[in-house]
């Protein structure tokens, strides 16, 4: 191991020739209330033409600021203090306004997170794409031709028709393709992608990522990709920089960084992800203690020192060196103790959870039979849930997965009675039927079934203190009042690892993770038997997600609570769930024990969902493309609702007869005409089982 001077030379590109993007010792401040606060603290990296460089890190680490600074596109209170950004050898920081405008029009492009906001909602798509070419100086007829060409290039099958539409008439994936087509109009030297697939479903995300991958080969644009999803970075980027508090703490080829991280922060980040099919009973997830420093915090030495398990006096007094690592010449870690990375303690073992599966003499804590939900829209019946059959054992976690619009949240709301299910179905708690609507349910029924919402900002009343939020639930659900209720609130808070001081704060004074803890505490205020969790960690950073998932597992171990866990994150569901139900167009397509669902053979829809997930472990998978979009539930396809998109559909059968949900193995059912062993043969080698490693 050698220590090299990274000073003003910056990290040198792995590829010979002039780099497409060269960021050198970039320092950026945001002026907040008259004070300059440091956001980037000497960021340096290079991206070669045709190379894809990813920046990862938790929210607030400065990755988006870096992306915006690369185009000198900072918010009004942002300022580049020192350092330079060169694109194709020209210094972007020194450009005049006119030159900058020209540069942004011809040499660099950006794709944002929300495609709907990147387009003008009042103009037809065609007009906007054509405009991307006319600003480059093409004549109107030329621009029209080029626009059609560009849309074809981003794999839009019927560009003439798409050009005639307004942005809102396109799906999210389609919108993002159009935005990418516009971004590529000028053949940019640099393409910046800021969380381009965050708002999209897994299957759509996979398509957009495939597209970016193909386009990268066709153009020689350098790609700077920002994502919080490490799997996406691994699958798309050649090299990656891990950012923390405005500094790149580790950098190198994606596979190497993710397989053998050499900075304590990278180690913590990766260990907080449920990887390699690990389950809650085997190992708890690693968390990173403390929280990200506020912007502008005084961090004179190592930026990670306050949260680092290896920190010692040296880390607090000396700036860590940039340590070049073996392997790639461009790989480095900013740490005093690269040699002690292996000393970082492993996460604790998992918690024991006993699942009492429902049986003939033992009814499940929750049973749903023939549950349907039909919304009425302008006198049209829109079936959002069709004939759902489920049961949930004590202490069991049932994961519910599916794309958006598949009915996951409708199912949760029907269980809870927020939107009462249609008449005809039966919903039973502990073997006793309960009314479909929460307003008709008894206090005990309400107490037994509670919910944790996706977004704690929306779920907690922002004008109430944490104490009032919890006390009200305790009183309302258990009938305990006054001092006794307060005692229970304090016990509850302690159980959820909230300190008494947190109780007197308002939700907005808490971090995202703490807010979600309060929301979970509220759900547990009346000792519920079942807690429905609707994407409870999707708004959180991975290290915070890990803490919340550990907490949910601990609570389940102690209270024997059952969970219905709705998520789009296959890693999370694999970690937490005992059984998984896959929903498509309001119908359960497959339901079975987690291992069997992950190992296959699967329903073709599950197969496609699983293959769409970019894995941070870099497992090789054959991607299954789903054609088209989810049909409208108001007008479901004939026969099997999945047949128009199913790569294995059998004409003459699948489009005429709807398959029944049939048990194919013990506890494993699916809704498919293809026989189970035939599916196994078609799908070939099963995915690695979680017990293999």
């Amino acid at each position: 191991m050698t220590i090299v001077d990274m000073g003003h030379g910056g990290a040198r590109s792995a590829t010979a020739g002039a780099p497409a993007l060269e960021v050198d010792d970039l320092n950026v401040v945001y002026t907040v209330r008259g004070i300059d606060r440091e956001v980037l603290r000497g960021v340096s990296f290079t991206v070669a033409p045709g190379e894809a460089f990813g920046l990862v890190g938790e929210s607030g680490c400065g990755k988006s600021t870096t992306a915006y600074a690369a185009l000198r596109y900072l918010p009004r209170n942002g300022k580049i203090v020192s350092g330079s950004v060169r694109v194709g050898g020209r210094d972007v920081t020194a450009m005049s306004d006119a030159a900058l405008q020209e540069f942004r029009a011809r040499e660099a492009s950006m794709v944002y997170q929300d495609p709907a906001q990147a387009m003008n909602p009042t103009l037809r798509v065609g007009k906007q794409v054509v405009e991307a070419f006319t600003v480059l100086g093409h004549s109107a007829p030329d621009a029209a031709k080029l626009a059609l060409e560009a849309l074809r290039k981003v794999r839009i099958a019927d560009p003439e028709r798409v050009m005639d539409r307004y942005p809102f008439q396109l799906s999210g994936g389609m919108q993002q393709r159009v935005v990418i087509a516009m971004a590529l109009a000028c053949h940019p030297k640099l393409l910046v992608l800021d969380e381009p697939t965050t708002g999209l479903d897994a299957t759509v995300e996979a398509e957009v990522l495939d597209l970016v991958r193909v386009l990268r080969q066709e153009t020689d644009a350098a790609v700077l990709m920002i994502a919080h999803n490490l799997g996406i970075i691994r699958s798309l980027c050649d090299r990656v920089g891990v950012m923390y508090a405005g500094k790149i703490v580790e950098q190198g080829p994606s596979a190497e960084v993710f397989d053998s991280p050499q900075h304590p922060y990278t180690v913590g980040l990766l260990r907080s992800l449920p990887r390699h099919g690990v389950r809650k009973t085997e190992r708890s997830l690693a968390t990173i203690p403390g929280i990200l420093p506020l912007i502008g915090a005084h961090l004179p030495t190592c930026v990670f020192v306050d949260r680092c398990p290896l920190a010692d006096d040296k880390c607090r007094t000396e700036v860590p060196p940039v340590v070049a690592l073996e392997g790639d010449p461009n790989r480095f870690s900013r740490c005093h103790h690269v040699d002690r990375i292996a000393d970082i303690p492993e996460p604790e073992p998992g918690v024991p959870i006993t699942v009492l599966s429902p049986s003939a003499d033992q009814p499940g804590v929750l049973e749903l039979s023939h549950i349907s939900k039909t919304f009425r829209q302008r006198n049209h019946a829109v079936p959002a849930l069709v004939d759902v059959e489920l049961e949930l054992g004590e202490g069991e976690t049932l994961g519910i997965v599916g794309e958006s619009g598949s009915g996951k949240s409708t199912l949760a709301r029907a269980m809870l009675g927020i939107d009462a299910a249609d008449a005809g179905g039966v919903l039973a708690l502990n073997g006793t039927q309960v009314p479909p609507s929460t307003t008709e349910r008894s206090a005990d029924d309400k107490r037994a079934l509670q919910m944790v919402f996706q977004n704690p900002d929306s779920a907690l009343n922002r004008s109430w203190s944490v104490r009032r939020i919890l006390a009200r639930s305790v009183t309302k659900l258990t009938g305990v009042k006054g001092a006794a209720a307060n005692k229970r609130v304090e016990a509850l808070a302690a159980h959820l690892r909230l300190t008494p001081r947190h109780l007197d704060l308002k939700p907005r004074q808490l971090s995202g993770g703490l807010k979600q803890r309060v929301a979970i505490a509220r759900a547990f205020a009346g000792d519920p038997r079942i807690v429905v969790c609707d994407e409870p960690t999707s708004a959180l950073d991975v290290s915070v997600q890990a803490a919340i998932l550990n907490l949910l597992a601990d609570l389940q171990s102690a209270e024997r609570t059952s969970y219905v866990f709705i998520t789009h994150d296959m890693g999370v569901v694999r970690y937490l769930a005992d059984r998984i139900a896959v929903l498509y167009l309001g119908r359960i397509q497959e339901i079975g024990p987690t291992n069997e669902v992950f190992n296959g053979p699967n329903h073709p829809y599950t197969e496609a969902l699983l293959s769409a997930i970019p894995s941070v472990d870099g497992e090789e998978k054959t991607r299954i493309r789903l054609e088209g979009e989810i049909p409208s539930p108001a007008n479901p396809p004939s026969g099997c609702v999945f047949h128009p998109r199913c790569p294995r559909a059998m004409p003459g059968v699948c489009d005429t007869t709807e398959p029944q949900l049939v048990e194919v193995a013990a506890g494993h059912s699916m809704r498919c005409h293809i026989p189970f062993d035939e599916l196994g043969r078609l799908q070939g080698v099963p995915l690695p089982t979680p017990n293999d490693d």
Partner: protein, 296 residues
């Protein structure tokens, strides 16, 4: 764990001060820096003091007509005297009392009823909302002054009638604003969570939602106050105010404006200026409150 001290996002504040106080203190600090707010407050304060102690401040009794008739402004009579020899300065000071009693009462009542109606419309929705919305819209189409005059002519020109009719005409306007705020609020998950633990509709509306829509309500209150001053002055100008000898501003203007052509401008100018200064000061305050509330 995450219970690290720096997990509190609001930096640089004493931890023992409650959040509400903190937010209020921050808003107060922001609003104090606005010159429009300070000027508006100063003018309003002058009128409030006049309304509270008219006889102490005024050099003469407002009804005392022993002084000379139609004197132009002088040291003894800074605003001159009117056609019966009463001191205009003293009458303007005394006139602050009526308007500062009626206008705020009308504004407060209008906002109160508007909040209740808007809350019901926004939260309950359905047929109630559809019908109430049509009624609100039809009320919005009514000319305020005309309806006010009609009410005062049929029910007598007591202060309560003026307060009642202005409040009734403001109610739908406020209701519409509150309804819009509640519509956004009711979709948030804390409302769902309240339903899941079995809270009553009343509780959800007034304990859960109301504190979160106070911003627009406070803004609406200040804006309505400005309009109320203007409306009440207009009504009294049109003869729907207190009867003649009273030193009401609106009636002073209407009694004297025809004499401007005779050169007695001060008899109209000062009461009219008083109305204008009060309306402008309240609007300056309302604007400041609005921009601070919207920023936070």
């Amino acid at each position: 764990m995450t219970d690290h001290p720096s997990s509190i996002v609001v930096p640089g504040q004493m931890p023992d001060v409650s959040e509400r106080k903190q937010a209020r203190r921050e808003n107060w600090r922001l609003i104090r820096r606005r010159p429009a707010f300070l000027i508006g407050m100063a003018i309003l304060l002058v009128w409030v003091v006049c309304a509270l102690f008219p006889l102490t401040i005024a050099p003469h009794h407002p009804l005392d007509f022993r002084t000379g008739l139609n004197q132009s402004p002088s040291w003894d009579h800074p605003f001159g005297t009117d056609q019966t020899g009463r001191d205009v300065f003293s009458r303007v000071i005394a006139g602050a009392r009526d308007i500062l009693r009626i206008a705020p009462a009308a504004a407060v009542l209008g906002v109160l009823f508007g909040v209740i109606l808007g809350m019901l419309m926004g939260y309950i929705r359905g047929w109630f909302d559809i019908i109430a919305s049509r009624i609100v819209e039809s009320f919005l189409a009514l000319p305020v002054v005309l309806v006010g005059l009609l009410a005062v002519t049929t029910m007598g020109n007591s202060a309560w009638v003026v307060i009642g009719v202005v409040a009734a005409l403001f109610t739908p306007i406020v209701a519409r604003t509150v309804r819009a705020a509640v519509l956004a609020e009711r979709e948030l998950d804390y409302v769902t969570s309240a339903k899941l633990r079995g809270e009553s509709t009343m509780f959800i509306m007034f304990r859960e939602i109301l504190p979160n829509v106070m911003g627009p309500i406070v803004v609406e209150l200040t804006v309505r106050l400005g309009y109320a001053v203007f409306t009440v002055a207009t009504l009294s100008f049109l003869g729907a105010g207190p009867p003649p000898p009273s030193p009401d501003w609106g009636s002073q203007v209407s009694d004297n404006y025809s004499s401007i052509v005779s050169g007695f401008w001060w008899r109209t100018f000062f009461p009219a200026g008083a109305i204008a200064s009060l309306v402008i000061s309240v609007n300056m305050i309302a604007d400041s409150v609005q921009s601070v509330m919207e920023a936070s």
